[in-house]
């Protein structure tokens, strides 16, 4: 069927399949045919690239596992932190959602070298507690370092307080007497993030002994390894190199 239509139509079909995170070439004959065509036919490849580029998408990986796409800057396909939760979210919530994403990736890929590994190798599943501990321990260390340097209300109003304070505040403000309850609030943020990532085909839930763990999928591994990890690093470096922004609260 796919051979009789115009290559542009077929390219559109391939992009459609790619946008279905749970579809697999092994199970869908048309998808499989299109992926093979992508490998074999140079013109078709160019058409797909042009089409995705025009849509504001980037082809990260094409394999027998399917096509992995990433949105370009300002793409209509880009999911902003503001759209992450249903209903409106406050600026602090968005910040925490963003931090949770980085902490999840940092837990899945704890060392720089892990980003260079074969994405076909299944990485170990992570738990909400592991991600939370990663984030909390970092924040506690920074809090320890900044002891005695509390920001004034002017800083707070202008958004000059450091990001870790928002995380610590979330711990504190929920329930000061019971730290477990406080942690529950941050755990909920991480759990929500992982759950949403599962909807996007980035994680699956598995049982690890008695607890629930989250297993990264190949799609997620490709996304972080091929692009997200280095791209966010680039953004951080750019920001740190801009003199006005690189302040650490002093």
């Amino acid at each position: 069927m796919t051979t009789t239509r115009d290559p542009a139509w077929n390219a559109g079909r391939l992009v459609q399949w790619a946008l279905r995170p749970l579809a697999r070439p092994a199970q869908e004959a048309e998808y499989r045919e299109l992926v093979e065509r992508y490998f074999d036919d140079g013109t078709f490849r160019t058409t797909v690239r042009e089409l995705t580029d025009g849509l504001g998408l980037q082809v990260l990986d094409v394999s027998e596992h399917g096509v992995v796409l990433a949105p370009q800057d300002d793409s209509v396909f880009g999911l902003k932190p503001a759209d992450f939760r249903s209903g409106s979210s406050k600026v602090d919530d968005r910040l925490l959602d963003g931090l949770a994403q980085i902490a999840i990736a940092a837990t899945v890929f704890p060392r720089a070298r892990d980003l260079d590994e074969d994405p076909d190798i299944v990485r170990a599943p992570v738990t909400v507690d592991e991600v939370e501990a990663q984030l909390r321990q970092l924040c506690e260390r920074l809090s320890e370092e900044a002891r005695g340097r509390d920001p004034n209300s002017e800083d707070e109003r202008r958004g000059l307080i450091e990001a870790w304070r928002v995380y610590m505040q979330r711990l504190d403000t929920i329930e000061t007497r019971d730290s477990r309850k406080a942690m529950r609030a941050t755990r909920r943020i991480i759990e929500y993030s992982l759950d949403r990532l599962r909807e996007f085909g980035c994680f699956t839930q598995v049982r690890r002994g008695a607890e629930i763990a989250w297993q990264p999928t190949r799609r997620y591994q490709v996304m972080v390894q091929q692009l997200a990890g280095t791209a966010i690093f680039q953004l951080v470096r750019e920001t740190l190199n801009t003199p006005s922004a690189a302040s650490s609260g002093d």
């Binding site: 999911l79 968005r94 910040l95 959602d97 963003g98 980085i102 980003l115 076909d120 928002v166 997200a228």
Partner: protein, 520 residues
């Protein structure tokens, strides 16, 4: 473990030399790709191939760790020999490598179950599926290095460099890994190191090993040693798998990243060698296949064992032949894979080096930033971690259809569930002809109240009832055993503590039959 010692070099001096660089553990070189080059000139202090052998030996340490774990494991798992089991796992995983159905946990569990049961039996322990699963998880976890977040095993070692100085190195390797399978699940794959480790702990030259094995198969067939021939054919197939995997790995790496593979010198050499090798192998395999077919034709039918063995050799060889035909196809298309990959990857996004440590280089700096800056970075970076989302377009047609669809009926709050008798008591009885059933019922009905099953059977046998009738009687009685359904069962039966049934036809506990059921 044998240690090579040179009497001209005191052991203490070596140990001392090794210690100093070891302290700077952070600077220890990791050489998963890098072979420490050993100068031939220093052969008296440290022969060049010693390092290679040392590295080979290091690969066995995780297995050694497994064995040590045997003694400290939960008491109910101590009867298992984990190294033997681990090798069985590697065997099945390597055996399935590259097949359509690669080994996953399920396959490994199936293969391991009888082995675990045998170990249970040897220790006079009843087999338990739950315990087997637990042991399997422990074994897979150890082979994957789950304890260290599935990172490669890391073994440090010391060797002398060209100047005779001791240097600390670290060897990283994996044994077993979970890999994504295109069909959606995950499969277990051996690492290259595990394959070498398993296929005789030596870096055998694949081609030579296979040629040798095939020669062995042919000679074994000719000499009528069929069981050995099956074994050798199986080994030859494993070598074939290994070989095929080597070429496919090159092609996979190329598809992923052209720069990882040396297409100027190394790969064309490997491909050419492979083609020559293939042609030779196919000829040899055809020879074996012909010999096996010939043998099967002249072999007498009574010699079933040998026939089966030869047929197995034939099947294994045929599989090798198919694999080689497939490999041939890959080889012919290899050049195109390279050219395509090059064209495709020329503009592909490439991770800029160096790679970040996400916690230290990304998360921490962001946490330190004022929230306005952090927010901006996360705003832009967020989308890359979650992937594309689908913008939703409103569809008027869809809306109208939705609004016009009939109201969904409200489910009733309570739904009566009719009790279903899960056991169809008649099903088993219907196997017997009606007259047999009638005879059995009649005999059962004539039985006195509170009769024993053994007595009833003896009586029936004395009255000339056939075995089928006796079977139906027993079945009817069993249906009444501990049943709550007093209406369907003809009789009620209960066991008499510890009294065995005395009957030549049946084995089990004797039962006391009461008339309770017959009233209904």
């Amino acid at each position: 473990m044998n240690k090579r010692t040179d009497p001209s070099e005191p052991q203490s001096g070596f140990a001392f030399a090794a210690e100093e660089p070891a302290e700077a553990a952070a600077t220890a070189q990791t050489d998963h790709a890098l072979e420490p080059t050993m100068a031939a000139s220093m052969s008296d202090g440290w022969p060049a191939d010693l390092t290679r052998r040392l590295r080979v030996l290091l690969h066995t340490l995780p297995l050694d760790g497994l064995r040590r774990g045997d003694a400290i494991r939960d008491a109910d798992l101590r009867q298992y020999d984990s190294v033997a089991l681990a090798l069985r796992i590697l065997d099945v995983v390597i055996d399935r490598l590259g097949l359509e159905a690669e080994a996953d946990r399920e396959v490994v569990a199936r293969v391991l179950r009888p082995v675990l049961s045998a170990m249970d039996a040897a220790a006079s322990v009843d087999p338990s599926q739950e315990r087997h699963e637990r042991m399997l998880d422990k074994l897979l976890g150890s082979l994957r290095n789950d304890g260290d977040a599935r990172r490669p095993f890391r073994e440090e070692y010391t060797c002398l460099n060209g100047e005779g100085e001791a240097q600390r190195h670290a060897l990283e390797f994996r044994l077993l890994l979970d890999a994504f399978h295109p069909s959606g699940g995950t499969v277990l794959r051996p690492s290259a190191e595990a394959c070498n480790l398993y296929l005789r702990l030596l870096d055998l030259d694949v081609e030579d090993a296979q040629a040798a094995l095939e020669a062995v198969v042919e000679s074994q067939l000719a000499r009528g040693r069929f069981d050995e021939a099956v074994h050798s054919a199986r080994q030859a197939r494993i070598q074939s798998v290994r070989f095929r995997d080597k070429v496919l790995q090159i092609l996979r790496d190329t598809r992923r990243d052209v720069d990882r593979v040396d297409w100027r010198v190394e790969v064309p050499r490997v491909l050419n060698e492979s083609l020559t090798h293939l042609e030779r192998r196919v000829a040899v395999e055809r020879g074996i296949l012909g010999a096996a077919d010939e043998r099967l034709e002249i072999m007498p039918d009574e010699d079933a064992g040998s026939r089966r063995a030869v047929a197995q050799v034939r099947d294994l060889t045929r599989e090798c032949l198919l694999r080689h035909a497939e490999l041939h196809e890959h080889l012919i298309g290899a050049r195109n894979v390279f050219l395509d990959a090059q064209a495709r990857q020329a503009f592909a996004p490439r991770p800029s080096r160096p790679l970040p440590d996400l916690a230290a280089d990304v998360l921490e700096p962001i946490l330190r930033m004022p929230i306005v800056c952090a927010g901006q970075i996360l705003e832009r970076g967020f989308t890359l971690f979650v992937g594309p989302r689908l913008p939703v377009l409103a569809s008027l047609e869809g809306l109208v259809t939705w609004m016009l669809q009939p109201r969904r009926p409200q489910p009733r709050q309570e739904i009566e569930v009719a009790p279903v008798d899960a056991t169809d008591l008649d099903a088993e009885l219907r196997r017997y002809p009606p007259e047999v059933r009638a005879a059995a019922t009649e005999l059962l009905d004539t039985a006195k109240a509170d009769a024993k099953l053994s007595g009833l059977l003896a009586m029936a046998r004395a009255s000339g009832a056939s075995n089928a009738v006796l079977e139906v009687i027993t079945l009817l009685v069993l249906m009444g055993f501990a049943t709550e359904d007093r209406e369907t069962a003809r009789v009620a039966a209960e066991s008499i503590d510890g009294v065995p049934l005395e009957d030549p036809l049946f084995y089990g506990d004797d039962l006391l039959i009461t008339a309770a059921g017959r009233a209904g």
